[in-house]
Amino acid sequence: MTLFRWKYLIILALLLFWVMVPFDWFLSDYTGLAIMIGIYTIVTVGLCLLMGYTGQVSLGQAAFFGIGGYTSAILSKDHGIDPWVAMLIGAVITGLIASMIAYPIFRLRGNYLALATLIVGVVVWDFAKFMDQYTGGPDGMAGIPYLSIAGFEFDSPFRRYFLIWGFCLLILIISQNIINSRTGRALRAIHGSETAAESLGINVDQFKVKIFVLSAVYAAIAGSLFAHHLSFISPGTFNILASVKIVVMAVIGGLASIWGAIFGAGITKVLSDEILLNFGEWDVVAYGFMLIIIMIYMPEGVFPTLKSAFERDGFLFFPKWWLSIGKNWFDKLRKGYDYVRFRHQRKEVRP
């Protein structure tokens, strides 16, 4: 009961905190970083679902991101189409490409999705570099218009922060609903045992294709937001390395979880863009080392680990535990070390 209430309270507090971030009197310096976290959260949610429920790795997520971004950029900048429509077209195109890839690939057993998506990554990257009359070539294209609603233009980071996090929340909620719907139950059945799910009449391949297409569409939306946020896009932003980074975000956050995506994107971005800057040329080294450490101690991702700790110990996990440390120290001070050491023994003996 208390657990229930605490859970909602902490969510409320976090939400409040998050809403306050871009204000000048709070953390406005970090608005840019927070926007990036929002954009990458959208990509990561899709990948979390894909990897968590189909067990397949996609190395082309950044490519879908790029397709969405470029479609949106080219249509809105060179052809004067409304950015929102361009964004939609980008998402549809990406979805079509993803389903074209997915149908043959999911018929193959084994880890061929990684291979196929890797190829998508390389092809899209090459395309963006060589079709320079459309894409601006390897140096990228600048001057992409900002999004606007009925004359209200999202031309400052402050405004875009709310736009992008609005999108992000919307997508998180949609994903949450998908997970809790019939599709979600089917996916969980597939996650548990593919053979069992198939024997229950679930079309496993079809569900896998669906979830893959969904993840690609998420990436495309994120790509469009990215292009309209930076008003710039270049091939370097979505090469294979970027895809690998997105996989890292998904795994760090925790697979098969919606909210883990925020943790994954947040931790990696904050690490690489803020904390590690103080390491100078050793930042890459420290980043790799921290990845290893996180994966050693939280192999299931940060969010599921925290969540299970939360469910085991309740929200009071933090205070209770910290207090217990304090209490131990206090006891040590008060009654001497030996008492603390044998306290449990004494308790057992006493009755």
Partner: protein
Amino acid sequence: MTSEQFVQYMIDGITTGSIYALIALGFSIICTVTNIINFAQGHLTMLGGMISYMVIRSMDVPTFPTVIIAVLTASAIGIVLYMMLKRPAKFAVSLVLLAITLGAIPLTVILFKEIASAEMPVVAAAVIPILLVAIVGAVVYLNAIRRARKPTTVSLIIMTIGVAIFLEGMAGAVWGVDAVRPPGWTGKSSIEFLGGYIHPQALWMVGATLVITILVYLFFSYTMIGKSLKACAISPVAAGMVGIDARKMALIAFVLAGIIGGIGGAVMAPKTLMSYHDGFWLGIHGFFAAALVGFTRPIGAVVTGFGLGIYVSLMVGLDWGPFQGEYKMSVSMITFLLILVIWSSRLRDEERPS
């Protein structure tokens, strides 16, 4: 395309293919035995090339004060994680071992700075990097992979990405950002062959790849350890039942992949040059070659590696329509994927879980 040109394209393709083949072989061996896709394989190759350069031309190595800070900070975060997880038991041991891993690389570098002041013979230049990279492979396995707490396959893969990033950063910081080229092993002028020209180092590259492939084949087919490795690949549980230590086998696989990576790097660097950020792209090529045959066929991976090299070379030579140097990466990958899909019915039967 004249016949001389054709010969030249084939020579170039086979030489380049030998690099891809070696990396793909490393990928396949690890994946066969442990089911892990080792993204650091290309970086192990890079390390081999860099170390061979270092041994031959003892360079000035900067000091390592910052890495100590990195270790300390990371340790602090490790402590926080440990508190959250309340897993005191393994923590201290792991941390010490990881610190040793971190310390091992600079230590070897410093050690070699002392040793390598004199000119090194070619044999040493070839053997020492291989040994060192093998050690790195073993240490990575022992500390990072094996210590993992209830690891999942995907977390282990991310760990290898972490190792890859770590190695890349380390190499950049230690050896600088410029590409290096160790001197060739034998000969200076190219060898003429049927109207084409072969770089002397290319012979070493192809030769090393073929010898290693044959040795790996023999090792897997005719030795007890090799057969145990195969058994682990087929069914770890059954292998455990007949007394095979899966963890020891995994260790062997990692060391093997490390050796192969080290050889590959040392043998290719005199011809292809090596810089600290080359590991990733080398790895992607090897990954592609290994993935085409499903990661579980080492010999098949070697064949696709060579095939990829030759195909790309011929494509550059054809220089027509989409088959140009510009698009070689995407077009070759799409072609290979099409071949895979056409063969898919056969693969499908093979891959179906029993």
